[in-house]
């Protein structure tokens, strides 16, 4: 079913950015609409950056070139345009050693055998819904609902780079050593943060990712 084309809600995010809210669902079609709107906004002379979220777009604009009201009108006009064919994201196949410190506890909490957890985590082609938080972090999903768990009650103060983790209906790979509250089920040697590249992130919005179990 095509996504509904209701007029987006546009809110100021301070005085040089705006949040364009297109919906509330974790939904590939809605996310595709966000990617299209962000791409269209980037061509506007007064827009500096446009970043798609799961179901929203954040627009960074130059207030010396356009007012908030003018920006809102431009956003509504562009959001109403019919999107072209979906951009074809790249496919990444990423090896994972399922040896994370939370693997056993996560399987127990989900009432699954470890082998079954691995099978469910490696089965889907995940979509990159959004890149952000820290350089190289990609929000991947949706996860098989049988793997859905709330975040850890107490986040770790440091999670090693390369940790493969799940939380809610999302999965991802920590690109850098950062604090984190997701469940660590494995590790990969594929770097997510690429400081020599521009953008310095292996994964980009709209890409697809499939994990496969490797010996490590």
């Amino acid at each position: 079913m095509p996504p509904p084309r209701s007029s987006p809600r546009i809110h100021p995010l301070g005085d040089a950015a705006a949040l364009v809210d297109l919906g509330r669902r974790l939904d590939t079609a809605l996310n595709t609409r966000c990617l299209h709107l962000a791409a269209a906004l980037r061509k506007h002379h007064a827009v500096r950056e446009a970043i798609a979220g799961y179901a929203s777009v954040v627009v960074h604009y130059d207030p010396e070139q356009i007012s908030f009201r003018g920006l809102s009108a431009a956003v509504r006009r562009l959001a109403g345009l019919r999107a072209r064919a979906a951009p074809v994201g790249r496919l990444h196949r990423i090896p994972v050693a399922y040896d994370g410190p939370d693997l056993e506890a996560t399987a127990d909490a989900l009432k699954l055998e470890v082998r079954e957890l691995v099978r469910l985590h490696t089965a889907p082609y995940y979509r990159v819904f959004m890149v952000g938080f820290v350089p190289g972090w990609a929000y991947l999903g949706p996860l098989d609902p049988r793997l859905e768990l709330p975040r850890r009650r107490v986040p770790r103060t440091s999670v090693p780079a390369g940790s493969v983790a799940i939380a809610g209906l999302q999965t991802g790979v920590y690109p850098l050593p950062t604090p984190g509250g997701w469940h660590l089920i494995g590790t990969t040697s594929v770097p997510m943060f690429l400081p020599q590249s521009d953008p310095p992130s292996l994964l980009r919005p709209g890409d697809r990712v499939r994990f496969f179990a490797s010996a490590g």
Binding site: P12, G14, D15, E49, V57, F68, P135, P195, P199, S201
Partner: protein, 314 residues
């Protein structure tokens, strides 16, 4: 680093970083704009020594470094007042001063504010990453090997020194941000303000908050009346500097220069760009208040603040 070293670091100060106006345009890869916390002070420091606005300069938090000139140069200190001296003689802030080789620029103590900026004619060189020399500690890029200064570092010039070097150029107090503690920050109501309970909504714009010890270049966690959030969790979305997030704990977080580029906590307000320099000069324990402000009014405040810099253009 550039061949022409202009300053040597005798003592680094508590936390001194090379910064510029950051690396906009890379949020798509999760990279924040970064750069100076007090962008006005960095721009003023550069204009005072004849540089372009976004040249590399030093951002010195909590206290200043001891620097010795290796070549003739112009310097200017802006932002926080750390009582600058040249060869032991106190000198005025927001003013360009000539240093001859061997002259020392030192700071005797913190009188006001949190971050002092030191501009040098020609601009400071640094490791360039994604078009900027701004030090980004999380990924250890930019500046001097992506780290704070240490004793013995030599700071290079990015370009030729400015000729003629004009000492004594000055930005009067009327042209500067109205630094104060408690700070009053103009804030535009945010997308999720309606998720605050009515009492919390009133408290946000009426009560005062305090910067907690959990405050760095990424953001300041604030203490004050707990803010009560209602409604389901949000899907993650993009963020901007100055956003005021409210996690479930009810302790708001003010996002600063090196903030995360995405998150899912409700954003209840966004501090106007014109007042982010005031926030950048706060330390743990300092008080602040948020004053409700419309977007257009925030743009006007920005234009008024910028007008103060126009006198520095030669």
């Amino acid at each position: 680093m550039s061949a022409e070293a202009v300053l040597r670091v005798l003592k680094p100060g508590p936390f001194s970083l090379v910064q510029d106006l950051g690396r906009p345009g890379h949020r798509l890869g999760g990279v924040p704009e970064g750069g100076a916390m007090d962008r006005f002070a960095l721009v003023a420091a550069n204009l005072l020594v004849g540089n372009s606005e976004g040249a590399g300069a030093l951002e010195c938090a909590l206290g200043g470094p001891d620097l010795v000139a290796l070549r003739p140069c112009l310097v200017a200190t802006t932002g926080a007042d750390f009582a600058p001296s040249v060869n032991g003689q106190p000198v005025a802030g927001w003013t360009s001063h000539f240093l001859a080789p061997g002259d020392q620029l030192t700071f005797s103590g913190r009188r006001q504010g949190a971050r002092c900026y030191v501009g040098v004619d020609g601009g400071l060189a640094g490791d360039r990453w994604l078009g900027s020399v701004a030090t980004y500690l999380l990924v250890r890029r930019g500046g001097v090997e992506g780290r704070p200064l240490k004793a013995g570092d030599e700071l290079g010039r990015a370009g030729p020194g400015v000729r003629p070097a004009v000492a004594g150029r000055f930005l009067p107090p009327a042209g500067r941000p109205a630094y104060a503690s408690p700070a009053r920050l103009a804030a535009v109501p945010g997308p999720h303000l309606s998720r605050l309970s009515p009492a919390s909504r009133r408290a946000l714009f009426r009560e005062s908050f305090r910067v907690s010890r959990d405050a760095d270049r990424m953001g300041f966690r604030l203490e004050g009346p707990p803010l009560e959030i209602t409604g389901p969790e949000l899907l993650s979305f993009g963020l901007a500097g100055g956003c005021l997030q409210v996690p479930a704990s009810g302790q708001p977080i003010l996002l600063m220069a090196d903030h995360q580029t995405a998150g899912g906590y409700p954003v209840v307000a966004g501090v106007a760009r014109a007042d982010l320099p005031l926030a950048a000069q706060l330390l743990p324990g300092d008080e602040l208040r948020f004053e409700k402000c419309g977007v257009e009014e925030a743009h006007q405040r920005w234009r008024r603040l910028r007008a103060g810099l126009e006198t520095l253009r030669s």
